[in-house]
């Protein structure tokens, strides 16, 4: 019984080492072994993507809250302008040629 246990243990250790070493045994070797990292320009683009999505999400939210009576007309008017501007600015910065002020959302989703 103990011999079987020792054999199984050795098998386990060998299999583990082989599996761990696999990335170094793969052929052909990859041209680039560096972990990807973002340049400052790419980080800025990522930040803009998040800003755009956040503003568009907030616009949907605002529309839904207004429709369900959770937000008064005056508060809605005060908030909708800056949010549209923010979304537009982010879109313009991402794609300067095509960005435009988003239209009010017609089909409203219940937002998060």
């Amino acid at each position: 019984m103990e011999t079987v246990a020792v054999l199984l243990a050795v098998l386990l250790a060998v299999a583990a080492v082989a599996f761990v070493a696999r990335p170094f045994l793969a052929e052909p070797e990859p041209e680039d072994d560096r972990i990807g990292s973002l340049t400052p320009a790419e980080q800025e683009r990522l930040r803009l993507l998040e800003r755009r999505d956040r503003a568009l999400g907030a616009l949907k939210e605002l529309e839904f809250d207004h429709r369900t009576g959770k937000i008064a007309d005056a508060d809605y008017e005060a908030s909708v302008g800056p949010l549209r501007r923010e979304a537009a600015e982010a879109m313009r910065a991402l794609e300067p040629q095509t960005a435009s002020v988003p239209e009010p959302v017609e089909k409203v989703d219940a937002p998060a």
Partner: protein
């Protein structure tokens, strides 16, 4: 084959140590293949730990008493289910379960986010490896489940209190919750170490966090149900240190689940969220330490051991390293967005966070104060239920109110007038319910009256949210009212699943207030034929009986139950005498009335030589709503966790845009 189990643990230790060290070097130097190799080591460690777990399970099933662990926790007569469950009834087995769950879900989380980790979050793998290394080290060098001995004729058996069906599920679920909190911690710290301030780690860990939180919450309730039936004092939660150990990380994780929404929507509270994630994980380690170290006397603590110092050291390292990393990355985490109004959804989340964290810290102080007192003054003290009850009410009632108010306030800002209009229906409902309860005699418990009034406020607010949302969707042409309702929930499972969870908390509150504020207790020494009146129940002692079960001798008092002249049958309450364990346990009788949601709870405490018995009987009104709340809680969590195809498509588009940025 204890040798195979030990070898599997040694191999696992080597693998997770490699994942930590090689992974750390790879992340630091930016070496992709080395990181892949470290990731493979993490995967392989799961297979190795699984093998060790199977060896232990096989030994348990075969009653192989050459394993010291098997001999210490089982006996020949212990039923198979409990024999297998003794995997987690002892310290060494519990630690093995921790490591098994950690390497399992750690590997799964890494595999599902492999591209993200390879490109932007390389530090996640070494962090997971480092945490797993600590548990593997304990298992290899300090508390091995594979220690051997000369086999005794029979084992010592299992603590009778653990021989309850709920104990089959409670510990594994609890560990899934505790260990699951490692995932958001590892990703959050991985993001900080990698210098990433964006929200990818939040998106990647959203479901893991929610699932862990659900497991932890449900496990707490299963533990309460076990205590209710097995410990048999008539209550469901005793503010016991080990119960509190699970409650603290759950409270902090609850705070995080709310505040992370503010980060996602407003890009605020980024430092706070990092602190909450680290705090929840440290508290989950602290919870394991409390349960396993035996430093605190508890009805749930089944061990005295020497691993306490190891755990305290590890918690100190984790807390110190997390704090240092958060401080180092403060410039990156600071948000330029400010709170626009004190009357807004994000402000409500902030208040909710402050109360939840204050409550968690209060509970923490109550748990550690006896230890501090004993260490500093040499005086052993206990912090009793009145302390926790006071703060539970002080922080709990505002939290309940916020559960009703929060969903009715808009994000960004709301005028007092709009808020007043939104609150009109829920507040009106609460006032009417309060008056009706007062007229119905509920004023006997002022705390109960306030609790029920607040509960009706929250429930009315939740119903109002569903009604308004359905109406809005119907107005947008979503078809029938039912279609509008399902479309509303389907389009935002997080929000409406969250409301179902809120309803579950309210249900739990109603049950807790019922048993705490309106229960009845009577006790008497009864001779055969004598009766005891409790509430509107009458108990008549018919005599005692004895039976031999698989591993115990059962002694029971037989009591006839009637209510208003109607015969409701008999109940059996008494004690079990366990042979192998040489211990006695109380076995209460519980007669549930699901229509009233109440229990008749009977304890036969003392059987006298003259044939009489000492009986304590309780009527626990609405207690079954607490257990029902557990099911509703899981249902709400499942709604929230259910994949949302629209959200998936949106994220896929977004990640495709981001993917173009990363050199995968």
């Amino acid at each position: 084959m204890p040798g195979l189990g030990s070898a599997a643990l040694v191999v696992a230790f080597g693998l997770v140590l490699y994942a930590a060290l090689a992974g750390g070097y790879a992340a630091y130097r930016g070496r992709r293949r080395l990181l892949d190799s470290a990731t493979n080591a993490l995967y392989a460690s799961f297979a190795s730990v699984l093998l060790a777990a199977l060896v232990l399970l096989a030994a348990l099933a075969r009653h192989d008493f050459t394993f010291s662990y098997v001999a210490s926790h089982t006996s020949h007569e212990l039923p198979l289910g409990y024999t297998l469950a003794s995997f987690w009834s002892g310290q060494e087995g519990s630690l093995l379960l921790w490591l098994l769950v950690l390497t399992g879900i750690g590997s799964a989380a890494v595999a599902l986010n492999r591209r993200l980790i390879r490109t932007v979050l390389p530090w996640t793998v070494p962090i997971l490896g480092a945490i797993a290394s600590f548990f593997a080290l304990l298992l290899v060098f300090v508390a091995s489940p594979f220690a051997t001995q000369v086999a005794p004729a029979d084992g010592a058996g299992m603590n009778p209190s653990l021989q309850n069906p709920y104990m089959l599920a409670h510990p594994p679920l609890l560990y899934l919750g505790y260990v699951g909190l490692t995932i958001p911690f590892a990703f959050a710290m991985g993001a900080l170490a990698s210098g990433r301030a964006d929200e990818r780690w939040i998106i990647a860990t959203r479901r893991w966090t929610l699932a862990s939180w659900t497991f932890l919450g449900f496990a707490i309730l299963l533990g309460a149900k076990w205590a209710y039936e097995e410990v048999g004092w008539g209550g469901w939660y005793a503010w016991d240190p080990v119960e509190n150990a699970a409650l603290m990380p759950w409270l902090v994780a609850t705070a995080y689940l709310h505040s992370v929404m503010v980060q996602e929507k407003k890009n605020m509270l980024r430092v706070w969220n990092a602190v909450l994630v680290a705090g929840a994980f440290c508290l989950s380690l602290f919870g394991t330490f409390l349960t396993r170290s035996g430093v605190i006397n508890s009805i749930h603590s089944f061990t005295q051991s020497s691993i306490g110092a190891w755990f305290l050291g590890f918690i100190a390292v984790v807390a110190g390293a997390s704090t240092a990393l958060i401080l180092y990355r403060l410039p990156l985490l600071r948000s330029r967005t400010r709170l626009e109004s004190l009357i807004s959804r994000e402000a409500a989340f902030l208040y909710n966070n402050l109360f939840l964290v204050a409550f968690a810290l209060t509970v923490l102080w109550g748990v550690i104060y006896p230890l501090v007192s004993e260490a500093v003054r040499g005086v052993a003290v206990t912090v009793g239920a009145p302390y926790y009850d006071f703060f539970g009410i002080a922080f709990g009632l505002p939290l309940v109110l916020l559960m009703g108010i929060g969903p009715l306030i808009a994000w960004r800002r709301a005028s007092l007038r709009a808020l007043g209009r939104s609150l009109l229906w829920p507040a009106g409902t609460a006032v009417i319910v309060g008056i009706l309860l007062l007229l119905g005699g509920a004023g006997s418990s002022p705390a109960g009256l306030v609790g029920y009034t607040f509960a009706s406020f929250v429930l009315a607010a939740i119903v109002l949210e569903f009604v308004r949302g359905t109406r809005a969707r119907h107005a947008l042409g979503d078809g029938s009212w039912f279609a509008s309702f399902t479309s509303l929930v389907g389009r935002n499972r997080r929000r409406y699943g969250g409301y179902v969870v809120h309803a579950a908390i309210v249900l739990l509150l109603v049950g807790a207030v019922g048993i705490g504020g309106f229960g009845t207790t009577r006790e008497a020494k009864l001779a055969q034929g004598q009766s005891l009146q409790v509430g509107d129940y009458t108990l008549t002692y018919l005599g005692s009986q004895q039976e031999r079960a698989a591993n115990s001798q059962e002694l029971r008092a037989r009591l006839a139950v009637s209510r208003g002249g109607d015969d409701l049958g008999t109940v059996l309450a008494g004690k079990n005498r366990y042979f192998a364990e040489q211990q006695t346990s109380n076995e209460v009788a519980i007669r549930s009335d699901w229509l009233r949601a109440e229990d008749l709870f009977v304890i036969a405490d003392q059987f006298n030589p003259d044939g009489s018995v000492f009986v304590k009987a309780l009527v626990n009104p609405l207690v079954n709503l607490i257990w029902l709340a557990g099911l509703l809680f899981v249902a709400g969590s499942l709604i929230t966790l259910w994949p949302d195809a629209r959200e998936q498509r949106r994220l896929a588009r977004r990640f495709a845009e981001e993917g173009a940025l990363a050199r995968a």
